[in-house]
Amino acid sequence: MKLNYAKAGIVLFLMVFGFLLAPIPSHAAVDTSSYIVENLRANDIPDDDGSGLVLSWKPLPKEKRIIEYRIYRGVTSDSLFYHGKVDVNVKTGVAGDVMYYYDSGYNRFVDIQSPRKLKKEKQQPDDSPLFGRLPRDITVTGPQLTNYRILGVIPEKDFLYKNTKIEITEDDETKVYAGLKLRHFHYLLKKLRAEKEYYYTVIAVTESRKYMPYAEPVIGIPIDNSPEKIRELYSVYVEDKTRLQFEWIRSLFTDDQTNHSVYLVKKTDLNKFNAYVEEQQKAEMDPELETSLENPAQLIYQRYCGYPYTPDNTVAVNIIDGKIINEDRDIDVEVGNIEDYVAVFSLQDRAGYETFSDPSTFEITNSSNLPKISDEWIVEDRKNDKGDYNAIYWEKPTVFLTNCTYLNDDKTKILVNYDIYKNVKYDKIKNVYFIVSDEDGKEITSINEFYQDNKLKITLEKPSNKISFEMRVVANGDTGEDQIYTQDLIFNEDVKSLQPGLLYLNGEEVNKYTYSIYKNNYSNEEWRLSKNTLGAQREIVDNISFSSTTFKGVSKFDAKKGLFLVTPTFTVRLDDELENPIVTNLYAEEVAKSIENYKKEIAEYTASKDTLETEADITNADAAIEYYQEQIELVKNNPILKKAATIKSKKSRLKFLEKVKTIAGRSFKYKMVKTDGKAHFALSEVYYTEEVGKLPFNKSARETYTTLGKDHFYPIPNWFQADKLPALFATFIFGFMVFFMIRQAKSGKELYIRPIAGIDEIDNAIGRATEMGKPILFVPGLSGISDVATLAGLSILGRVAKKAAEYDTKILVPVRDYIVLPIAQEVVKEAHYEAGRPDSHDKNSVFFITTAQFAFVAGVNGIMIREKTATNFYMGMFFAESLIMTETGSTTGAIQIAGTDAVTQIPFFITTCDYTLIGEELYAASAYLAREPLQLGTLKAVDYYKFIILAFVIIGTIFSTVHATFLINAFPTK
C-alpha cells in the first residue's frame, strides 16, 4: 500500500487518539473511598530482638484491579515516609483474606540513589501526611537518625582514608567522630527500635497507577522478646570416653543471640526447673513481677555465639574424674550417674532473656557406635584462582549410582547413570570398576570404565527387581583396593523402574552421616559454619570474599558539613589468646589520649572503692580497674599497635593497619564434624600443618601472625591459571604458525587457497546490482561489536562497499546495534574514499533501525520490498530472524549471499540463499577478498592448524579405544 499525505495523517491521528484514549476506561470516575485499605494492624513479631513488626490488612477485591500496595511509616502520624510495597498480580488478585508485610531487620534508610529532595506523595490531598522516600537531604534524614537504629555500611577504604575528623563537646566532654559524606557509604540501613511507637499506613495503587486514599494510620510497638525455643536437643553419653555430646536444631532468628548454654538437671529437680522456667516466662510478660525461684539446673557448658554467622550446633563435654570443669566460665560440676540427669540447652540474647529447650534424656552409647573421621583431611589454598577460596578435602573418591532407565520394552536392557565425587588429591580418575550381580548373587557382567561418561549399558538375561553393584575407583595417587562401594538398583513401584538404593562403603552406609566444616579467623572467637556436605562428598571449597566493608552505627550528623558521624575506632583483630579485641583509632593522636582516659577511669574507680559498701560493687570496681589496666597494656605493648605508633605518616599507618586487618579477617582455621544430626558425631582436631607455603605478604605485615599458614590459611591469589597451560601452549603454536605462513607469503611463495564459491560470487553479485541499477543490501549481523562475527562482517562490508563504490552502486546497511553503527558508517565512508569516489558516498546509507529483533527484521524486509534490492548480503551473527529475512529476499528475486557462524541458522541460509559461507568461511572471506600476503598467511595457518587438531582427534580416538586415556587426561576438562 502506498501512503499519501492524507492517509498518513489519518493513521497518525488514530495512533495518537488510540494512545490517549486507551488507558481512559480505567481512569473513569470511581468512588475512591471504597479503595481504602481496611483492617490495617501492626503487630509485634515474636522471638525477635525488638526490631520487627508485621503489618496486616484486608486486600481489596480482584475487581478493583489493584497492582500494588504501598506502605508508609513514620514516628508521628503527620509525617509518613514511603517504606516499601507489595506487588499484586492484577489478573489473579490476592488469594487470601489477609495480606502481610514484614518490617523487620535492617532495611534501606538512605543512600546515594535516594531522591535529592523530600516530595509529597503524588495524587494525595494537600494535607496528606504521606511523603515519598527519605531523601539524601541531610537536614531531613539527620533528625531521623535517633528514631531508628542506623547501620552505616562503608567501603573500608572510604572509612579509612576519606573521613573528616569532627569534635563535638557535650556536657563538658569532647568526643571525636569520623565524618563521612553520604557518597562514602554503600548505604545507610535502619532497624526499628524496641519499645518505640511507629505509625503505618497503606495505600492501594490501581492498574492505571491511580494512588488511592490512605488508610487511617495505625501504631505498632516492637517488643524485644526472648529467643526462639529450639525445636530439638539430642543428648548422648559416650560411656567409654566419659563424654557428653549434644546437638540441636538451630533456631531461625539468630540476630541478637549471645550465648549457647548447656545445663544438667537432676530428674528429681525437673518440677523445680519447670517452675523456674514458667516464672521466667511470666517475668518477661510482666517486667514488674519479682522473681523468687532459683534455677536448679547446673551449667556445664557455655560459649559466645554471635550474629551474623551460622553457629556450630554441636558440643562435646568431657567428664574427668566425675567432674566437669571449665575455669574460663567458672564451671565446676560434679556429675553422678548420668541416668539421673536430663540435659537442657538454652539461648541467651543481648537483653538478657534466656529460652530453655525441652529436657532431653541421655542416650548411652559407646564410641564404636559413633562415626570415624579420617585423619586424611587437608586444608590448603585452592590453586588457579584469584585468591578467594580455600580447599578442604578428605578421603578417597566415591562412586555411586544416580539413576536407571529401561532401554527396551522387555526391560532387559538398562542404562545406569553413575557419578563420582573426587577431590584435589585424587582429581584424575583412571578407571572405575563395576561388578554387576543379579538377585541370586550371580555375576551378570563386569565393566571397566576407563573413560568415564557416567553411564553404563547393561543387558540382563531377564527382567529383575534387584541388581547389585560392587564399585571401585582407581585414580592418581594410592586409592588402594580396599575401597569397595556397594549399591543396589531396586524396583520402585511408584516410578515403575529400578532406582538406586543406599550406598555402602565396606559395609557402612555412606550418606548416614554428613560433614560439617566450621571455620574461625583471627577476628572472631566463634566457630562458624562454612559448609554442610553429604557423606559421599569428598571436598568443599570455602569462599573467602574480598569484602572490605566496615559496619558502623550512625546516630549523629553534621548538617553544615553534610556529614554523617561514626566512631573513629576500629578493631584490627583479637589478641593471641582470642580474648581482647585490639582496638585502635583512625587518628593516631586519639590513641595516646585513650591511655589518659583509661588512667582517669582507673583513678575514679580506685577512689570510689573507699565509698562502696557491698562486696559485689567492690568486685565490679576491681574488674573495671583490671579491664582498663589490660587496655593500657594492650595499647602500649601490643606489637601491632606498637608498630603502628612508630609510623609517622597518617596514610602509611592506616595502610599498615588495613593490611593487618585484612590478614586477620581472611585467614581461617578449620575443623570438621561428621554427624548423623542426632548427636552421634565425631569431631576432628583443628587442621594443622608444619609445611607453611608461600604467603603473599611482606614480613612486617605477617610477623604478628605466628600461626599463619600452619593452622590459619589465607587464600593466595595466583598469577597464572595452570590448568589453561594447554590453551596457552596451543595459542603460541598457532601464533608461530601464523608468523611462519605470513613470512612464506611475503617471500613470494604461492599459497594455494581452496576456492569458496560464496566468496567468488561476491564480485558477480555486486556486478548484477550494477547492471540492474538497484541497490545492494548488507546486513552485518544482529549482535554487538564484541562478537568476532560482527567484526568479520564489517571487514567484508569494507570490501563490498569498495567494489560498490567503484561500480557506483548504492549500498544500504541497516544496523541493529548502535555501537556498530558508527563503525559501519566509517567503514563504508573509507571504502568510498579508497575507491576514489567520495562524491558517491551517502552518509545515510548506513543507518540504525532498532534494537528490537523482530522490529529490525520488519524494517529490513520493508527495505527489500520497497527498494527492490538486487543483491543481499547477510554477514555476521544471526538468530531466529534469519529465515524471515532470507525468504523475503528470495521472493523479491535478489541474489543472496550469507555467512554466519551460528550453527543453528546455517541450514536456513543454505536453503534460502544462493551462496552460504559456513562457519569459518565467514572469517576467511575478508582474507580471500583482500588477497594480501598477511591475510593469506593467516588463512593458511588456520588450515594447517585444523590438520593438527584432526590429527589429535584421530590419535586420541585410537588411544582411547585401546584404553589409553593419558591423551584425554592431558587436556583440561573445562
Binding site: A22, E207, Y833, T911, E920
Partner: protein
C-alpha cells in the same frame, strides 16, 4: 593518527584481555571489572548515535518527500510518543509506556515471530525436494528425524526413534562440532589479525 591511535588502543587492550584470561589474580579481575563498569557507563551514550541516525535518515526522507516518506513520519512519531510516555509517566506496570509495550510492541513482535512457522514450511519444501542424491539423503534423514520426534514414528517402527536419535547424536553432532572447531579457529585467527594490526578494515579510514 586517526587510525593509529585507535589501533594502538585496540592492540594494547586486546593483549591485556588475552593476558586476563590466563591470569586469575585479583589485580586482573579488578581490572576487568573496572573495564566492564566503563563499558556500562559509556555504552548508553551510543544510544544517542542510533537516535540521531534515525532522525537524520527519516528526517531527510520527510524533508525531500521521497516516495513512501509517510512511513518515516510514523516511525518518528512512534519514537517520540514512546519516549515521551516513558519520560512523563515512568516505565512501571500500568503506565502508558507499559501499555504501549504490552499492546503494541509485543503483539507486533509476536506477529513477526509467528510468520517464521510459514517461512519454515516454505524453506522445508525447498530443502526437501529430491533433486539430487545429496538432497535425497537429506530428505530421508529429515523424514526419519521428524517421525522420531512424534508418537507416530514409534508406532510405525520402534527403530525410527532410535534412528532419529542416532542421526542427531552422531552425524549431525559430528558436523556441528566440525563447524564449531572451524569457527573457534576462525575467531582465534581473526582476533589474532586484529591484535597484530593485520586486519584493519573495521577501523574505517583516516590517517
Amino acid at each position: 593518527m586517526k587510525r593509529r591511535i585507535p589501533l594502538i588502543i585496540i592492540i594494547t587492550m586486546g593483549f591485556m584481555f588475552v593476558a586476563h584470561s590466563f591470569i586469575p589474580h585479583k589485580v586482573s579481575a579488578d581490572f576487568f571489572d573496572w573495564f566492564q563498569d566503563w563499558v556500562k557507563a559509556v555504552s548508553p551514550f551510543a544510544v544517542s548515535l542510533g537516535i540521531m541516525s534515525l532522525f537524520m535518515v527519516h528526517g531527510t526522507k520527510i524533508k525531500r518527500k521521497v516516495p513512501n516518506w509517510q512511513y518515516s513520519v510514523i516511525t518518528l512519531s512512534g519514537l517520540i510518543f514512546t519516549a515521551l510516555a516513558g519520560f512523563i509517566w515512568g516505565t512501571h506496570v500500568g503506565t502508558p509506556y507499559m501499555w504501549l509495550f504490552e499492546n503494541v510492541q509485543m503483539p507486533m513482535s509476536a506477529t513477526m515471530f509467528a510468520l517464521l512457522a510459514f517461512y519454515i514450511a516454505s524453506a522445508a519444501y525447498k530443502a526437501f525436494r529430491a533433486r539430487s542424491a545429496e538432497a535425497t539423503v537429506l530428505l530421508i534423514a529429515a523424514v526419519i528425524v521428524m517421525l522420531g520426534q512424534v508418537p507416530l514414528g514409534a508406532m510405525i517402527s520402534k527403530w525410527i526413534p532410535e534412528a532419529s536419535t542416532w542421526i542427531l547424536n552422531v552425524p549431525n553432532l559430528a558436523a556441528k562440532r566440525a563447524i564449531m572447531i572451524g569457527v573457534g579457529l576462525g575467531i582465534t585467527a581473526t582476533s589474532l589479525k586484529i591484535l597484530l594490526g593485520i586486519e584493519r578494515t573495521y577501523l574505517g579510514g583516516g590517517d
